[in-house]
């Protein structure tokens, strides 16, 4: 029975002003947090690490400068400057010091940093030399792993340099029990501890740290109460004065006590969301099923007649603005991979209740409308779709998609729930899933998913088949034999599997080393008290306290690998139109299309290695001279012509993404080459590895580290994103692309898959356009696709935005698992988005 009210309410004028204030200036780096955690750590040396973490949180929350921005209804800011960021030297800091002079001018996600801040950070950072998680992780890694990372087979940069994040905590518990209730739970656990228990010391210390952290958060909220009161005292405008008094009252009460009304619930939620991102630098701290856990408070106030839908919407909109106030500065390379100032706070609506009924309620609609009102990239709004979904909700979501904001992303319950059950998750828990970050499904409040554990470039092992394990003049992987000696496609394929298996094992080695480093140096007491079963187990999330533990590194480049394998199969082995030697040479010569400096250097190093093997001396000068030779080298005309012929032959072959069984089946197999071996590995928290197939936006920078591939892709151009077809290669329209992508096995990629589709606005015009759009998603989902997202902008708009960024500062596009402001992206990523096939209307 449908009981929701879906009528939209008008946007409050306050919201536009809050947004304007937020984006008035370039975001800024602040030094307060780095100084405070350093001060605290200097005072707590020798204490258990979990206590040190709690004391540090307390010190930060007591002393970070606080601010209530003009007209805010929901308060709590991590930085004085809007959209500013703090730094987290306990994880890593060298990269920031190295980028002090460039961070303001870099193309992806620039940040302002003052000279004073630089000096303060240098002083604080000095303490952390030799004490960071990244240094400890490095020391745990095998030499082969470090070598593989150097050669860009994979990059675990995310958790290597930052906190883990990627979690959804029990917001519902804080709302219903208050932190006081959480402390009581800790107290009860303490009472159970016996002096003779093997884990007495660690469990007691952990629980003490929990209590200390909860007290620190309560005190932090009270600081806002005092500030609001002070501001109210000075406020001339009577209406605002009343608002500030209300805020003061609420901050005295929550999150310490249970929330009673809707505004209290909103504020309580916000403090938790904000403090988690002070405690650690991990991103993708995802609010999850906001429409579900907030609903009781909304419903109660509505029943009591003390909450208008207008005010409820305004509060939700205010939270949406605040979600964009949080920010994070990443190193330049990661900023390219996660471009768009995104914190990936994924918030999901709709889906099913734990007992399998449709979960749509008023707030599901209001969340979609909030994204419409605020029109900013955060939260990463998602919607769960199942066979019993409210059509009205899907149409409302489609309307939001049509605006071109790139939100929401659509997720298929009918695939995700069984995929999670297959990983040992109970039916009720699986039905309650939410999405973390980009596309990663998991159970809220019970999971440490380590999603986003690394980017694994599936094209690199393929290159190693051709080079027999050599890269840039040195052995970088295992040797699988001279590629020209292979007599059958099966031999070639087996060599690829071997290269993959070897590098997957190194990827696991890297992730596990980092995992251990976080457990040893950065257990997080506050986060852990809001994830089951940490308190019962008496151990932090980082040490394996969660009910469900996973590690989910994401592979990408499936389309390139599938099309490449097909090229080798058809042209070399079946039709024999190109010899393996010719193909190998064409790849190393970038199909005669010229070399950039990276390739020239690689070739020079290769030449150097051959010279060294012949006993010649190879100096840097020799290499430099060779690079020059390569760059100015004239390829003979006949050779060039042959490369072009090969490219044309490749071009004429069927490609993944066109609903063609033979090549699509190969894509399915190619995905298994990554997803199947991975799930055999275990992590130090007692969980397993499982694969994701999505790229965030790393397909561009990591493509830049990949040579030419047999699918005709030129050296250092982007690789295909997620499970999407290669850019511009899907020519049979959206349904054909959907069918191809659905032919992959999404259920085994239980850490999420990502299918990007770009839509021309006219393809969605009118009510009929919306309905057909929803039908397209449902048709894809009927065939067991997992996820789908859309960019709805025309090519002209994007080209114009590149030329005149000032005219398009508000243009939001879907990048990968998230949306970002188009003009803040790097040129190469902008180009990639423009290239993605535009699924325009026919004729």
């Amino acid at each position: 029975m449908v009981t929701y009210n879906s009528t939209p309410v008008v946007k409050s004028p306050r919201i536009s002003r809050l947004v304007e204030h937020l984006f008035a200036k370039m975001p800024e780096i602040e030094a307060a947090r780095a100084e405070l955690i350093t001060e605290s750590y200097q005072q707590t040396e020798g204490l258990p690490v979990i206590i040190r973490k709690a004391r540090a949180l307390e010190h930060m929350l007591n002393n970070l400068p606080i601010i209530i921005r003009p007209e805010e209804l929901i308060v709590g800011s991590t930085t004085l400057a809007p959209r500013g960021c703090q730094t987290y030297p306990e994880f890593s800091y060298e990269w920031l010091e190295a980028e002090f002079d460039t961070v303001e001018r870099r193309s992806a996600d620039p940040f302002y940093i003052s000279e004073d801040t630089k000096q303060r950070l240098l002083k604080a950072n000095a303490y952390w030399k030799g004490k960071t998680t990244s240094e400890l992780a490095t020391s745990y890694m095998a030499p082969e792993t470090l070598r593989a990372m150097k050669h860009n087979f994979f990059t675990p940069g995310n958790y290597f340099y930052n906190g883990v994040g990627h979690v959804t905590v029990q917001y519902d518990q804080v709302l219903s029990l208050g932190l006081r209730g959480i402390k009581e739970k800790a107290g009860k656990e303490m009472e159970q501890c016996q002096f003779g228990d093997a884990d007495y010391s660690t469990k007691m210390r952990f629980l003490e740290a929990v209590v200390m952290s909860c007290d620190a958060v309560i005190a932090y909220a009270n600081r806002y109460a005092v500030l609001a009161e002070e501001m109210a005292g000075r406020e001339q405008n009577a209406e605002r004065r009343q608002e500030l008094m209300t805020i003061a009252g609420i901050c005295k009460k929550v999150p310490e006590y249970p929330a009673e009304g809707f505004q209290e619930a909103c504020q309580s939620f916000w403090f938790i969301q904000q403090v988690l991102q002070i405690e650690s630098s991990g991103h993708s701290i995802s609010p999850g099923r906001f429409d579900q856990y907030m609903y009781p408070y909304y419903e109660k106030d509505r029943q009591a007649g003390i909450l208008t839908r207008e005010y409820a919407q305004e509060l939700i909109d205010c939270i949406w603005v605040k979600l964009n106030d949080l920010n994070k500065c990443r190193d330049a390379a990661s900023a390219e991979g996660f471009a768009g100032y995104s914190l990936f706070q994924n918030l999901i609506v709709g889906g099913q209740t734990p007992d399998g009924r449709d979960a749509t309620n008023d707030l599901s609609f209001m969340c979609i409308d909030a994204s419409h009102h605020v029109f900013l990239p955060q939260p990463s709004l998602s919607i769960r779709v199942w066979n019993g979904s409210s059509k009205e909700l899907l149409l409302r979501a489609a309307e939001l998609t049509r605006t071109g904001i790139g939100l929401p992303a659509y997720y298929n319950d009918e695939v995700i729930i069984p995929a999670l059950i297959n990983r040992g998750i109970s039916l009720d828990d699986a039905r309650g899933y939410n999405i973390i970050g980009c596309v990663e499904p998991q159970v809220p409040g019970k999971t440490d998913g380590w999603h986003d554990a690394a980017f694994f470039n599936m094209c690199r092992p393929l290159e190693m088949v051709f080079s027999n394990g050599y890269d840039a003049g040195e052995l970088a992987s295992i040797q699988t034999g001279d590629v020209e000696s292979f007599q059958t496609f099966e031999e070639f394929y087996q060599a690829y599997e071997k290269q993959m298996n070897y590098n997957i094992s190194l990827l696991v080695n890297a992730d596990n080393a980092i995992d251990v480093a976080h457990a040893k140096l950065c257990p997080l007491p506050f986060l852990s008290c809001l994830v089951d079963d940490c308190m019962k187990k008496g151990t932090s999330v980082q040490e394996g306290g969660a009910v469900y533990n996973f590690t989910g590194p994401q592979g990408f480049g499936i389309a390139n690998v599938a099309d490449s394998l097909y090229t080798v199969k058809k042209l070399v082995f079946e039709e024999k139109k190109v010899t393996m030697g010719e193909l190998k040479r064409a790849l190393s010569m970038n199909f005669g299309k010229g070399f950039d400096e990276i390739t020239a250097r690689e070739i020079a190093l290769q030449v150097g290695q051959e010279m060294a093997a012949q006993g010649q001396e190879v100096t840097e000068a020799v290499i430099a001279a060779t690079i020059q030779q390569v760059l100015t080298m004239e390829i003979p005309e006949a050779e060039k012509r042959r490369y072009q012929e090969i490219l044309d032959l490749i071009d004429d072959l069927p490609k993944f993404g066109n609903d063609l069984d033979e090549v699509d089946s190969l894509a399915r197999e190619a995905a298994y080459v990554y997803t199947r071996p991975l799930q055999q590995y275990k992590n130090p928290r007692g969980g397993i590895f499982h694969a994701g197939l999505y790229p965030v936006s790393a397909n561009v920078p990591l493509g830049a580290q990949t040579g030419a591939t047999p699918d005709g892709r030129l050296a250092h151009t982007p690789v295909a994103d997620g499970v999407s077809p290669s850019s511009g290669k899907d020519v049979n329209g959206p349904t054909a692309a959907c069918n191809s992508v659905a032919r992959l096995d999404h259920s085994i990629a239980s850490n999420g898959t990502l299918f990007n589709m770009k839509m021309h606005p006219t393809a969605m015009s009118g009510q009929k356009g919306l309905e057909n759009f929803v039908s397209l998603i449902r048709g894809y989902f009927d065939q067991k696709g997992m996820h789908m997202q859309f960019n709805v902008v025309d090519r002209q708009t994007l080209l114009d935005a590149q030329k005149n960024p000032e005219k398009y500062s508000g243009l939001v596009v879907r990048v990968a698992g998230y949306s970002a402001l188009f003009t803040t992206l790097s040129k190469s990523l902008q180009d990639d988005i423009i290239r993605r096939t535009e699924q325009a209307v026919n004729r």
Binding site: A736, N772, S775, G779, Q783, V841
Partner: protein, 260 residues
């Protein structure tokens, strides 16, 4: 299933020709030579080369019903979610009546919704043969004046109008009237009104679609080495289309939409 015919394109995810998400089969060959035709490669029944983005492509291929249906069936999940299906277009699909009939029947046999986009240039016996397998007939009526019709399309409209009356009277299919609105040919309110009033006189007809002329076909004429007959004709303005829609709505009971 072994009947074969000649087509020049299959377009999937078509959302503007009939209900829902559809697959359109473009049959090759037409009896008319409409000056504004945006698919000039559809006109001749002969297989012919056309330059497309600098590459020579062969337009037209012979294909069996079974082969066409293999492609059509691939989008079943989308038809069932959207109440979409198969649409035959052209050219004039009725010029290959056996092939058209076999395609429509093959679709109906497996529960796929069917439509044709046609101006009805065929004997009524031919049309009668396909009606049992046809859910929607999107019928082009371009002008009410036979001479003007002949001047711009090469044929008079008598047969088509006669067929329209008979199709409507049969009650066997949903008949929708479509009018290409072409500047210099039929874009006055009076001319559109005349077509709309005729359409409204047909029993069972409830919808009329006004399709504004566009020049996207220009490049194809170049690709075929032909001169573009419409020259620099500008598409009708949005405001003008609105005015025509209002005219239709003022003078008839029909639901009128702009675009397919």
């Amino acid at each position: 299933m072994n009947v074969s015919g000649r087509i020049f394109d299959i377009q999937r995810y078509s959302i503007h020709d009939g209900a829902g998400i559809r697959t359109i089969i473009f049959l090759k060959g037409c009896a008319l030579r409409c000056r504004w035709c945006c698919n000039p490669e559809s006109q001749s029944f002969e297989i012919e080369p056309m330059m497309v983005q600098g590459r020579r492509k062969i337009m037209g291929r012979d294909i069996t019903v079974m082969e066409v249906m293999q492609t059509v069936k691939r989008d079943m999940p989308y038809y069932s979610r959207s109440e979409g299906g198969l649409t035959l277009s052209g050219g004039e699909c009725l010029l290959q009546p056996e092939f058209a009939r076999a395609l429509l029947k093959a679709a109906k046999d497996i529960g796929i919704n069917t439509a044709i986009e046609s101006m009805g240039f065929a004997s009524y016996e031919t049309i009668e043969g396909i009606l049992p397998y046809l859910d929607t007939y999107l019928m082009d009526i371009k002008h009410m004046n036979p001479q003007k019709h002949a001047l711009f399309t090469g044929k008079e409209n008598t047969l088509m109008l006669e067929n329209a009356r008979k199709i409507a009277a049969s009650g066997l299919t949903q008949l929708i009237i479509r009018v290409p609105v072409v500047p210099g040919f039929n874009e006055t309110p009076e001319e559109i009104r005349a077509i709309a009033e005729f359409a409204a006189s047909l029993p069972g007809v409830e919808q009329i679609h006004l399709l504004p002329y566009h020049s996207y076909g220009r490049g194809k004429y170049e690709g075929l080495g032909r001169e573009y007959p419409m020259g620099d004709t500008e598409p009708p303005s949005f405001e003008h289309m609105q005015r025509l829609k209002e005219t239709v709505e003022l003078h008839t009971r029909l639901y009128c939409q702009i675009g397919g």
